[in-house]
Symmetry: C2
Subunit: 718 residues, 2 copies
């Protein structure tokens, strides 16, 4: 069978070396993956026709090629005029909504070049995905009419990606210019993640140094170290908040959330046209608030479920490892861990799906709000899975183990029909807490590295192999997929790359931020347990930053350069963890840091609330002081922004002044006018001393009179 003629238009191949390495621009190209596996030929053809029509009707150029399996790659390119004009309109819109203070100039037909690839790609994304009313083609992948559109993504720029990675791997600390480069490539949303991890990485130097000193010179479970870490957490967080504002002003995205468009899934109850003629789609806020409250019982029940599962497995493990001496001892030891490892992802997955449905039900207006709400729910679930085992060891196993484990053992043995030895004495492992924290943090870092880098790499490699195998062994499968092999030789390499990108997962920046926040949580919550934790984190984060760039470049579709003015609700999560840390650190120091088990003759459990109460309030006072001080010092960028606003308006004012005619000085004829004006009652008073120097004379006269000097002397003197 022959490759259709129209895909093989003859070109001067001598001119074309390899389009993948040629100076191809990436700022005006998008790829739409259309999956027709669920449709028959005529339905698929019809839908494709509609898709191409919609794209072309907004002025976009299309090229269609075959994708992997039953999918098509629709290449979308925006003509320079269209893209430049869309970018200009986007800038005008920023100004209209008050994101930028200055009108960009030009008129509705102005064509500008985007400041960077990210700005162009964002406008192109809008052209592809926004609704027809907003000037887009309305292609919303996986939703409604376009449920067969598998994904919409921009193409990776391999040269810039590589250059960036090489550049960053040579540097130990990132500067703000490096962050600008990331912003230029992938947009502010991703750049803010890198800004955060960079700030956090830098800030970690302090707890590393203190940690080594504490490990060398301070006692275990040191109060001093706990206090220092708590202080550090607070200062870091408050300064990050200022940095976030600084960067959002630098990147001109401050307050960008308010101009985000409706997500297609948003269902409104009424339309309101405001004074400015804008149409608002309204879903009552009160209604949404009530719906959001459903998250409270959901998270409550999830917490109970997870606690129950983890506690049960934990109890079984403890029983088997330390208290069981019956048959199959050796094999049974691993069962609970295996069960947990199998069960937990399953439960978490189920709960996350529920959370997504709940968030869908909350009916958020923009994609941003939806994402935030979902991410926060998932974070709570993740926190429980991550921190709960340590809580159980610290506040249940170690303090009460000696009491309840023998009972538990007897009970479990009786279930198994075995009679327990009544003289069994259980000794709590005093290092269990430290070991648990080290295990969880170290294995956590390692497993996440594997999960993020090695696993997807392996998965993608296998899938690639399989697809290539299938494609090259078409006849064995009884299909004529050999067709795909009909790639023009000069396009083949390029298409191979695009097909690979099309099969990758989209990048979700929240996953990466979440990982950092969980790490910060270990530090904030359990720092006194093992002062060397920060060093592990420090080393990990150096790699993490670079690995994430590799990950985005290789294992994910290029992220759509969405704009954001910070890491959003994660700041609140970090604050919550720091606050919680002031409680848990105090509790750990209180319970583990003293050798005798009673304080003032009372069991130390009764004095624990006092310690926690004191610690928490010292923390809150300190935080208020830090906030106050940093607020007083303020953000340089905010001052600069105000200054610029002033300068701009001053310029405008000066222009106004220059154009208006001089009308002469004010008070020239005032005095004369005053004298000649017709008298009214009020004027009588105000014209008494209208003559030059009259007020002075009157005043001096009164002073002399009061001081006992004869007024006539004064009048003579004059």
């Amino acid at each position: 069978m022959q490759v259709p003629e129209f895909t093989l238009r003859s070109v001067d191949t001598a001119l074309v070396d390899d389009p993948t390495t040629a100076h191809i621009a990436y700022n005006d190209k998008y790829v739409i993956v259309y999956d027709y596996s669920q449709l028959d030929v005529s339905a698929a053809t019809k839908e494709l026709t509609a898709l191409l029509h919609d794209l072309e009707s907004v002025g976009l150029q299309t090229e269609v090629r075959a994708g992997y399996e039953e999918s098509l790659l629709v290449f979308v390119q925006a003509p320079r005029e269209l893209l430049g004009n869309t970018v200009h309109h986007s800038r005008v819109k920023d100004w209209l909504y008050g994101i930028t203070k200055k009108h960009p100039g030009g008129s509705s037909n102005t064509v500008v070049a985007g400041a960077n690839e990210a700005e162009d790609l964002m406008s192109l994304y809008h052209l592809v995905t926004w609704t027809r009313e907003l000037g887009g083609a309305g292609i919303t992948p996986g939703f409604g009419k376009w449920k067969n559109v598998a994904s919409v993504f921009p193409l990776h720029n391999p040269r810039t990606n590589t250059k960036l990675l090489v550049h960053l791997s040579k540097k130990f600390f990132l500067t703000v210019d490096d962050l600008d480069q990331i912003r230029d490539l992938w947009g502010t949303k991703v750049a803010f993640y890198f800004a955060f991890i960079q700030s956090y990485f830098l800030a970690l130097i302090f707890p590393c140094v203190v940690g080594v000193l504490a490990w060398a010179f301070l006692p275990k479970y040191s109060l001093v170290f706990a206090v220092i870490i708590c202080v550090w957490c607070t200062v870091f967080l408050e300064s990050w908040k200022i940095r976030e504002i600084d960067l959002s002003i630098r990147w001109k995205v401050r307050g960008v959330g308010k101009l985000k468009v409706n997500r297609p899934q948003f269902q409104y109850e009424k339309e309101v046209v405001d004074d400015a003629g804008r149409v608002h789609h309204i879903f009552p806020r009160r209604k949404r608030i009530i719906r959001q409250l459903a998250a409270v019982p959901f998270l409550g029940l999830s917490t109970i479920l997870l606690t129950f599962v983890i506690a049960t497995v934990f109890a079984l493990e403890t029983f088997i490892v330390e208290g069981y001496d019956g048959p199959y001892d050796y094999y049974l030891e691993y069962i609970p861990t295996v069960v947990l490892a199998l069960l937990l992802p399953f439960i978490n997955n189920y709960l996350e799906k529920l959370a997504a449905r709940l968030t869908e039900y909350e009916n958020h207006r923009t994609e941003d709000y939806y994402e935030m709400s979902l991410t926060q729910k998932i974070f709570v679930l993740q926190s429980i899975s991550n921190y709960l085992p340590i809580f159980l060891v610290a506040f249940v196993y170690v303090p009460f183990g000696q009491t309840f484990i023998p009972h538990l053992r007897t009970y479990l043995l009786s279930l198994a029909g075995v009679k327990a030895d009544p003289n069994f004495v259980f000794h709590v492992d005093p290092n269990k807490l430290r070991n648990e924290v080290i295990t969880l943090t170290v294995t956590g870092q390692l497993s996440s590295a594997i999960e993020e880098l090695a696993l997807p790499y392996f998965k993608n490699s296998v899938r690639d192999w399989w697809r290539t195998y299938r494609t090259t062994h078409t006849f064995a499968l009884g299909r004529q997929t050999k067709f795909v092999r009909g790639d023009d030789p000069i396009e083949a390499k390029f298409l191979r790359r695009v097909r690979k990108q099309a099969s990758l997962a989209p990048y979700d920046v929240h996953d990466d931020i979440s990982e950092m926040v969980l790490q910060f949580g270990y530090l904030a919550l359990f720092s006194p347990v093992w002062p060397l934790i920060p060093i592990g984190f420090f080393i990990n984060n150096w790699f993490e930053l670079r690995a994430d760039i590799v990950k985005i470049s290789i294992e994910h579709q290029r992220p759509t350069p969405i704009r954001n003015d910070g890491i959003g609700p994660w700041v609140a999560s970090l604050e919550a963890l720091t606050w919680l840390g002031s409680l848990t650190s105090a509790a750990i120091v209180h319970l583990f840091g003293f050798s005798n088990s009673t304080i003032y003759g009372l069991d130390r459990w009764w004095t624990l609330p006092i310690t926690i109460f004191a610690s928490e309030h010292i923390f809150l006072l300190f935080r208020a002081a830090v906030r106050w001080a940093l607020h007083a010092i303020g953000s340089e960028h905010i001052r600069k922004e105000r200054s610029e606003l002033y300068a701009e308006r001053k310029k405008h004012l000066d222009e106004l002044e220059a154009s208006s005619m001089k009308r002469g000085h004010l008070d020239v004829v005032e005095r004369e006018r005053r004298k000649s004006v017709r008298m009214t009652a009020a004027d009588v008073f105000w014209t008494r001393q209208v003559e030059e120097g009259a007020s002075r004379k009157a005043g001096a006269g009164i002073i002399r009179a009061m001081k006992g000097t004869d007024i006539n002397d004064f009048l003579k003197e004059e």
Copy 2:
């Protein structure tokens, strides 16, 4: 002796009925009180000359009359052109600094009428007090060169004052229009106080109703009532914050703090000229922060001192009333209270003076910051004097009285040389706490009413009488003050009124806000003690609002209509009190609300921290929820403001569009251009399917091929 001729210029008195009731305008008049009692004749005359020169050199008109005793009244009036132009400049400045979003129009010579008396008077105040560089006469009362200028104040508008008072006394609730009237008369700073007391008064209805129900149906020291009040405090405060923003937008003062000028006492370390050409006087922020930290030991030591004094007097009183049966029993009983009543104002006065010096040392740039800082310090001192007695009764006297009072008695008796009866048993008065709260709140309201209204009225009356007596009995005093009697008959009544106003104290709105905040504090901190407290407050506040209008009208100089965008740091004080309330209410319910003194077999003091901890965190969670919900519902005015900004920019944009020429539609020649362009490597790919429908054909071909339909069938079909 004769009255100097020049003060008696003949006018047609038939025209003049009485300038006080005639339609005299109050928007352009200010009075400067110049006190020359410390100077000799020539120095005084010289200073007066300088004063008049400075005023006249900025274009202000002056009239001098004699004041009470050795003082002069310098009447200042601004010509309409000057005042109108100053008002215009002030509006332009608001726009320059981003307070208002819209340029007011006009050029540098534009003359406008102020929107109300307050706006005109503020500009006149600027003309009188601002430095020469800022375009004012630089008269700063009581400071530096002008230390003999006793005060600078606008004249009361008796008609509007009376009208306002009559209007308000007919209404039970104030509307926002009534607040506008107050703003028009006295400016936003005062108007915000009335807005606050009005909101608070309205909100009090809820605790009143709940209080009556609690009193009738709930047990004493009810947990339920405490919780409800805590919830109410939180909701009230959060909604006030939104109301404050709404009003500040309505009154166009949002963010007005940042354009305030330097206070004359401010000492800067360097001058910086920014990009916009503005000169900034800088005192390093870090330095100020360190100086402000001095407030911490000051307030700490003051607290200790006040606690010591109050506790000592308290102990003596308890001892004498309830434990002493020695000689002079009857007379001794009143001594401690008398001592405290004499001592406390003395100590407080001293501490407040120290606070003022400390605040001066902090070297704040604007009068606003200075005021805020001082007010907050004084508030802490006042809180201690007000709330400490109740704390002592609740947490020392009642729970421990039985134990320590007999010891105290023995000790005090031994000091007096009397041997105590060892069998003496002391019984704590169980109603002491309730009585203390009722006494303090009721007497507090009454005594403040007397202090604010009756006392100043009496004082002013006596002073007036004395001054009139002195003036009319001049010869008895050996001075020629008869001079003053030389008032022109048609001016006499007017001058009498101005002289009276000149002798009044300036109005400080913070005193009144402070009173309300202290009242709110009783409710927040001790609500479970006596659920009927809110009713007393509700009645009090109805009168308070009206009495404050009388007070400002009659007993104070008319306040300079300074602008503010809220009640400033008082919101933080209210928040602190609410937070503290979640602790104290819980503690009171815990200690007094249960009949048995042990919980779980432990003395209830050991379980107290747990209760407090739980209560506080429930409060904090609830507050976070309220904030989140109210934030989501948001402020109407902010939305409106955004909408207006959008509309304004949209208009600007439409004008731009209209003026620019139409350049024809975009994609007209695009397709042809694409075909004819010279090929480059990248273009090869993008020109494959450039013909109409080519993409569609290619896609359809691939689909058919993959679905197993022969491509030739498809080609035939086409």
